[in-house]
């Protein structure tokens, strides 16, 4: 269906009244029963495809890990978790002034920003850098022996500086001993503090020593060589450099509803048990029935979601994506390797609800809805040619049911109506499946590109941008495919 025009709809009652006018005799006898025709209309809507459905958007409240899907929900396009929103209210006395309130969504929304635990095992403070959850580079000072928790996208760890200075200003290096003999061999190691010891090296093994000197007095196949500097880690020396800070992460940060900042600890005021900040809750317990939700541009490159409640208007500007998991892959059996979106904001559709890992919050969904108006009336597409399809389908049903119930002399009428219905169906489906002009242009360009490629394939090794590439590369990419 073309998208550069707005689709029009009419209600089921209007459609049935239209055929009552045509089938006057059947209508006056009470043979046109609307209950028999509803399923036919629904089948016709399904035959015309998704192109005629309405794209709808709404905001749902998450309670006890799930949110009830709207009654007219059919397919989900995408979902976004909402963070704080702005409320704009006119002042009562002077209509021109407005008061803005930043109101956080009362929920401990998990984010995709990891929570890091940084341990400084050094005896002096360490300075490093990190990138915070909003992408800004920040500096960090970790006191000596301290453990801090931090929300950051990434943290830079500082490695030890190499030093060959030992105690007493003795100069040494990292020495490798390779024992190729089948029996243990003995080497003499002189450490930085002057200690001399005989160390057994296992057969067919390689060992590193951070010492002033290492020597092998034997005559076997043992190689002693200096490989680099020694590194200090408090009071020990080792050959390999190690990180100064012990950095690890095992959880994600929360979005604090009070300050709208990232925090590692779950905020105390989870909104399910606190009084509702917004007054829309008391207006109507059915949020998707009365709330008008729509998206608008925010005069930059972003989009904000407007939610019109009865006495205020909310603007949501900060979102987190929600990754939908298939319902049949229960979380306990889900293979984390297959699921590349290993994020906390996951949800799945089940039993008419959208189930989340978070306890409470607000989610914006964009979905393809059933053909219903705001009052719950079934809608049909209002198009001059497609209307005939609906009408012939209903007429065929009326006469079919009368024929099946034993009414005489209906065969010829049924045959005529069936023929007209089939012709109208073909025309309607052709119109409904007509692609958009943009899609047609892209398809035509792709066909032309492919044709040009096939045409120039035999000589592409000599001309064009692929000239000079190896034969194997061109063969692998199928440029000679014909």
């Amino acid at each position: 269906m073309v998208t550069n025009t707005e689709l029009r709809y009419r209600t089921l009652d209007e459609l049935v009244d239209s055929i009552r006018i045509d089938l006057k005799a059947f209508s006056s006898d009470g043979n046109i029963e609307i209950q028999e025709l509803i399923k036919i209309v629904q089948a016709c809507n399904y035959e015309l495809g998704l192109g005629i459905t309405q794209t709808k958007e709404t905001i749902l409240e998450i309670e006890h890990n799930r949110a009830k899907l709207p009654n007219d929900f059919r397919f989900l396009n995408f979902a976004l978790l909402c963070h704080q929103y702005r409320v704009v209210q006119p002042t009562p006395n002077s209509g021109n002034m407005t008061v803005e309130h930043i109101i956080p969504v009362p929920s401990p929304n998990l984010t995709t920003c990891p929570c890091w635990t940084v341990v400084n095992t050094q005896q002096q403070e360490v300075q490093t850098k990190y990138i915070d959850c909003s992408g800004m580079l920040q500096g960090l000072t970790v006191p000596a022996g301290a453990t801090i928790k931090l929300c950051a996208a990434s943290i830079e760890n500082i490695t030890q500086q190499g030093s060959s200075q030992g105690s007493g200003s003795t100069v040494g290096s990292c020495t490798t001993v390779v024992n190729n003999e089948p029996t243990p061999q003995e080497v003499i190691v002189t450490y930085f503090d002057g200690t001399i010891s005989q160390v057994i090296v296992d057969p067919n093994s390689t060992t590193c020593y951070c010492a002033q000197s290492v020597s092998y007095p034997g005559a076997g196949d043992v190689t002693v060589s200096a490989v680099g500097e020694c590194y200090s880690n408090t009071d020990t020396w080792c050959c390999s450099p190690s990180n100064i800070l012990d950095i690890s992460t095992s959880s994600f940060c929360y979005n604090d509803p009070e300050t709208a900042t990232f925090t590692c600890d779950i905020p105390q005021n989870c909104g399910c048990n606190t009084p509702a900040i917004n007054s829309c809750d008391v207006v109507n317990a059915d949020p998707w029935h009365q709330n008008k939700v729509y998206t608008i541009c925010d005069n930059t490159i972003g989009i904000k979601v407007m939610q019109i409640c009865s006495n205020e208007c909310r603007e949501y500007e900060y979102f987190s994506p929600v990754y939908m998991t298939p319902c049949r892959y229960a979380s306990a059996f889900m293979n984390p390797e297959r699921n590349s979106m290993n994020a906390p904001n996951q949800a799945m559709l089940k039993d008419g609800f959208m189930q989340f890992a978070i306890n409470c919050g607000t989610v914006y969904i964009n979905y393809q809805g059933l053909l219903e108006d705001d009052e719950g009336n079934l809608l049909v597409l209002d198009h001059p040619r497609i209307n005939l399809y609906y009408e012939w389908a209903l007429k065929k049903t009326v006469i079919e049911n009368l024929y099946i119930n034993g009414e005489p002399d209906l065969e010829r009428r049924l045959q005529y109506v069936t023929t007209e219905y089939q012709k109208a169906k073909i025309a309607a489906i052709t119109i409904a499946n007509t692609p958009d002009l943009r899609v047609m242009k892209e398809t035509m360009q792709m066909i032309r590109r492919n044709s040009a490629q096939r045409f120039s394939a035999p000589v592409s090794r000599f001309y064009g941008r692929f000239a000079g590439l190896s034969f194997v590369d061109r063969w692998a990419n199928g440029r000679y495919a014909e």
């Binding site: 089921l12 009652d13 005799a25 006056s28 006898d29 009470g30 029963e33 609307i34 209950q35 509803i38 399923k39 629904q42 719950g376 009336n377 079934l378």
Partner: protein, 227 residues
């Protein structure tokens, strides 16, 4: 067009059978019953062809039929689990003339005629409909007959308006005066289209011809014992 009175029809038949003098074997009631029998047959045949409803002269209207609230047991809708209210006519309905598809009801509407009720055969049909998932899209009001009363689910009207062809006098269901309600039956109208009268009368005469022999005009006037 003024409706034909029952007395007019009877006297027409009496004239045809030369039974105008007092006759103990040929009463008015017998003639009326014969007429009614063949009238019902003719009207049913006409209704089968779908032509009866075009004659608005035979229809009568009950402008205000009061409704009262009842529970679903009385409405014979025990199988309905969802919250539904039921109302029924306070008084029993007058007898409707039977047509091809049931009582000849032209329309059952709200008092202002804006909402139309669909008459179904019985409450079972409504029960089946309510159990459908797509019933929420059905905005039609329904009603059915049960024990000579009309039952309406999910309406909040105080009364309804009914138009149909009635067999009996409906003065007592109307806001008629005392004199109208106590009118003798012969002075009441009969709801049969005029163009059917000839056909019905000929059938009545054929039936009566079996019972009596029609005498000659002058020769038998003073001698026939029937008179």
């Amino acid at each position: 067009m003024s409706a034909t009175l029952i007395s007019t029809v009877i006297s027409r038949i009496r004239n045809l059978v030369k039974g105008t003098t007092q006759d103990s074997f040929l009463t008015d009631y017998e003639l009326y019953l014969l007429f009614k029998k063949y009238a019902a047959l003719s009207m049913k045949r006409l209704d089968e062809k779908g032509k009866l409803l075009k004659f608005s002269s035979v229809f009568e209207t009950l402008d205000y039929v009061e409704l009262e609230e009842v529970d679903k047991v009385e409405a014979d809708c025990i199988g309905i689990r969802s919250y539904s209210t039921f109302r029924r006519t306070k008084d029993t309905m007058p007898m409707f003339t039977e047509g091809y598809l049931g009582p000849m009801v032209n329309s059952i509407t709200s008092l202002d005629g804006s909402s139309i009720c669909q008459l179904v055969r019985n409450s079972d049909i409504y029960n089946y409909m309510v159990k459908q998932k797509n019933f929420r899209y059905n905005t039609t009001k329904y009603c059915w007959f049960l024990n000579d009363r009309l039952y309406f689910p999910n309406v909040d009207w105080p009364a309804v308006r009914i138009e149909g062809i009635f067999e009996e006098d409906i003065s007592k269901w109307k806001c008629a005066s005392y004199e109208d309600r106590c009118k003798p039956r012969q002075q009441q109208s009969i709801n049969v289209p005029d163009f059917l009268m000839a056909e019905i009368e000929s059938q009545v005469l054929r039936d009566l011809g079996i019972q009596l022999q029609l005498p000659q005009d002058i020769a038998q006037n003073n001698q026939n014992q029937l008179r």
